[in-house]
Symmetry: C2
Subunit: 188 residues, 2 copies
């Protein structure tokens, strides 16, 4: 018989999310989360650097996929061509839960300054992943940085539109549309 229940990290994530919904982020303490997950407070901090991190367990997926797409792209393509071609794959692979989950999560994040700040790390990590990916292809450093920022902008704005959209516009379509509008805005 196993000594511990499986998936400690996942249980902590779930317990944290539930408690944040029920009581709010600030009102829930780490001991509460740990208790609901059947673990000790100390173990929570072995899996997450801080209380906020339990809400951002999946944030590494996007930068990682972006880095993979860039690394595998044909050498002939420029940065923004790779990006435009890669949006469909990203939209298909990420945000695979029910949309209501992401909306509830978004509400929690907006309710707390620390969480809003924490959320900024994902686009920043995406920029970093894109920038190094482009640089490794020989793109000029400044151009790589700019292309990375433009891409992260399209991504962030698209997520915002997706979350705010009352209809069910697919993320892929919003990414393409936002990308086109970004280009038009830039050259206006």
């Amino acid at each position: 018989m196993a000594r511990w229940q499986p998936n400690a990290r996942g249980r902590l994530e779930r317990a944290a999310f539930e408690l944040f919904v029920e009581q709010g982020f600030q009102a829930t303490t780490v001991p509460q989360i740990a208790e609901r997950a059947g673990l000790s407070t100390r173990t929570f901090f072995r899996h997450f650097a801080d209380k906020r991190d339990a809400l951002f367990a999946e944030e590494h997926a996007v930068p990682e996929q972006a880095a993979r797409i860039i690394a595998e792209a044909p050498a002939s393509l420029g940065p923004l061509q790779i990006v435009a071609d890669g949006f469909d794959a990203v939209a298909a692979a990420q945000f695979s839960r029910e949309k209501s989950y992401y909306i509830a999560r978004h509400r929690i994040i907006q309710s707390d300054d620390g969480l809003r700040e924490r959320q900024l790390r994902m686009p920043a990590a995406l920029v970093e992943a894109l920038r190094t990916g482009f640089e490794h292809r020989g793109v000029d450093p400044v151009d790589a940085t700019l292309a990375a920022h433009l891409t992260a902008t399209v991504f962030s704005v698209s997520i915002g539109r997706w979350l705010a959209s009352p209809s069910d516009e697919p993320l892929a379509a919003l990414l393409r549309d936002t990308f086109d509008r970004m280009r038009r805005t830039a050259s206006s």
Copy 2:
């Protein structure tokens, strides 16, 4: 005779900066900062929300100036035209200390995860200021958001180039150059 020494906030800022340079950010405690400034710990937290904030006292200046420039711009100009025209004024008004100060500050920020995260709030606040400024002029919300992100990108990348530049390229020139390159990158 005055009951308290003047400029408590400024003394706290200065004490914090000195201690961060001398000992590093993590090794410095708030009681240490307060003691050097001749104030109590409690007073520190009346002026700053947390220990990191003492390094970001000036961060409101940029979004505020940006909002002012947009509000006062001729109605005929589009978002990015306003921005291009406003860079000179921003470069003249901001970053007025010795460059070595900003380099030292940058080194401190890079040394700590919490500070790196905290630093992301300025560009985010800038985006927000720009976005609302553009929206108040009647710009479509998505276009306003995109123009705000593009502007913040140019600003952030320019600051990065300025800090990394061994020569003394003026910030205004870097802003103009980065703006042009951003446009070229977007339409590539």
